[in-house]
């Protein structure tokens, strides 16, 4: 409770500073809107449903792209961890690709898929796939050999070792990868959506720019931030702490 109060105070303070800066009239209002103007833009956006449509479309895209990346990334991660050959070849490639900012895939995606839904999805997948893969692989490699031996000794074979030992044992790491992957997917999505009339949140940002409407730009930024936080807090924090508690791992500070 004390923490929440502190946070509230902090944000009120930020708003106050913002308002004071606005009143000094250092910049024209269309470049530096007041908190109330942004609040109005937020209200406007939600009441004429453009923001709702944007949120829905963006969430649908990310569900698709991120979902695909998770399935592919987890499978790929396990395969790389299972084979020394794949580790030396594909594993190395994944690591170097990971150093590419996901926005780098955009020109390639546009050339391959044109200004289309598929181009956006491609960028989302490329943005999150690699971190899911890497964390899965690390997770599997960190599974103590003892668990594998105990599992085999108790009769687990082949796919059973994977399903009943390796997969659950690597979950704490895996969730970290999923969380990181989500953050990357969210970023890639917003940048991808800026490329054409995609109707998503990224597109709404560009509309704001085209209309010279800084209030809308900031309002959309706030929506993007809030949504990213919401998913992180509601889904990933919960899952992560449940897993850490169950596994008896120390809580993250």
């Amino acid at each position: 409770m004390k923490k929440a109060a502190r946070q509230l105070l902090f944000y009120l303070f930020l708003l106050l500073v913002w308002q004071l800066l606005f009143q000094r009239k250092l910049w024209p209002p269309y470049l530096f809107p007041s908190p109330t103007m942004v609040g109005e833009a937020l209200w406007q956006g939600f009441s004429d449903r453009t923001f709702l449509v944007g949120v829905t479309i963006s969430m649908r895209r990310i569900a698709l792209g991120y979902g695909f990346a998770v399935v592919l990334g987890v499978v790929l991660g396990f395969l790389i961890a299972a084979s020394d050959f794949l580790e030396a070849t594909v594993g190395g490639l994944v690591l170097s690709l990971q150093s590419l900012p996901s926005i780098c895939w955009l020109p390639l995606a546009i050339l391959w898929f044109g200004l289309s839904e598929r181009a956006i999805l491609f960028v989302v997948v490329m943005g999150s796939l690699l971190s899911v893969t890497i964390n899965t692989e690390v997770g599997v490699r960190h599974v103590p050999k003892l668990y594998r031996m105990a599992g085999r000794n108790l009769g687990a074979r082949g796919f059973g070792v994977f399903a009943h030992v390796l997969f659950p044992a690597s979950l704490p790491h895996l969730v970290v990868g999923l969380k990181q992957g989500w953050a990357f997917a969210w970023r890639s999505l917003i940048s991808g959506e800026m490329i054409f009339v995609s109707l998503g949140l990224g597109h709404l940002l560009m509309v704001g720019r085209d209309l010279n409407d800084m209030s809308q730009v900031i309002a959309v930024m706030i929506v993007i931030m809030a949504l990213g936080q919401l998913v992180d807090q509601l889904i990933f924090r919960g899952v992560e702490s449940r897993i850490r508690n169950r596994w008896g791992l120390a809580r993250e500070v």
Partner: protein, 279 residues
């Protein structure tokens, strides 16, 4: 003295077919400093229902020997036979209790005990019933829903024991299971293990570096040498059961074994110091 113990060859009990039969087993490991002979020409029989203790200093290949008996590892030379058949690959009815136990933290106590049965495709109602039965046997009925990290060291040991027993193994392989416990807990677990062994008559191979523990529990005690692991002595402990650690007869047997073991321990200590100097 000869009434309470007798020196003998390791491959005794020639009349019946042994449960486990090790024939000139050698295991080499490749290390950065060249090949290391962990076990050298071990020949050993374990009779059905026997409680065999293996004693040796750390680094004598005790754990390696257990892994071989479980089929989790293969000998470089020599053969291992079980019930007259050659062991090739993991033996599902040779259940190991590892030193660090290897209980699964993502499962409850009962689900851990069920694990082996689940892998064997036993239906849920039956495996739950069997798990509960074995949890009763180790006095952990009230903890079936707990997770592993919520248990004390001694309780974890008992979960591991229940998990191993629930699969109804032919052989129970125990790798220094009580080494990390305090004396009272260990005492109690000795009693429980002896009781469970008397009730179930499982064949048990129990590895320890503690001579008194070995004499407390074993029908037979085999002492291994340090690097390479060879059989130094084997003797039958003829003390009546239930036994007690404070029994002076037990202490007498243990003292004789300890003399043998001490030579090996000092060799292992020397080796360790040398490793330190050169490393």
């Amino acid at each position: 003295m000869s009434t309470i113990w007798a020196r003998e060859r390791a491959e005794s009990h020639p009349k019946e077919q042994p449960k486990l039969h090790l024939k000139h087993v050698t295991r080499l490991f490749q290390t950065p400093n060249g090949p290391l002979t962990a076990l050298d020409d071990i020949s050993l029989n374990v009779a059905e229902g026997e409680f065999l203790c293996l004693v040796g200093p750390s680094g004598c290949g005790k754990s390696t020997l257990l892994n071989l008996m479980a089929g989790l590892d293969r000998p470089t030379e020599g053969e291992i036979w079980k019930d007259g058949e050659r062991l090739d690959g993991p033996a599902t009815d040779h259940i190991m209790i590892f030193q660090e136990l290897g209980l699964f933290p993502w499962l409850t106590v009962r689900e851990n005990v069920e694990f082996g049965l689940r892998m064997r495709g036993v239906a849920k109602p039956e495996r739950q019933a069997r798990a509960r039965e074995y949890l009763r046997l180790v006095h952990l009925s009230h903890f079936e829903r707990s997770y592993i990290h919520q248990l004390s060291g001694g309780m974890k040991q008992r979960v591991a024991l229940a998990r191993a027993l629930a699969t109804d193994p032919a052989v129970l392989l125990m790798d220094e299971p009580f080494a990390a416990l305090d004396a009272q807990t260990r005492d109690r677990l000795h009693e429980e293990l002896e009781r469970i062994w008397t009730e179930t008559r499982k064949t048990i191979v129990f590895v320890t570096h503690n001579v008194r523990e070995a004499v407390r529990l074993g029908d037979r005690v085999v002492v291994l040498t340090f690097r390479p692991g060879r059989i130094k002595t084997a003797l039958t402990v003829k003390l009546p059961r239930p036994r007690h650690l404070e029994d002076p007869h037990l202490a007498l047997v243990a003292r004789d074994l300890l003399v043998q073991l001490k030579e090996e321990i000092s060799r292992s200590a020397k080796e360790e110091y040398r490793d330190e100097e050169s490393g």
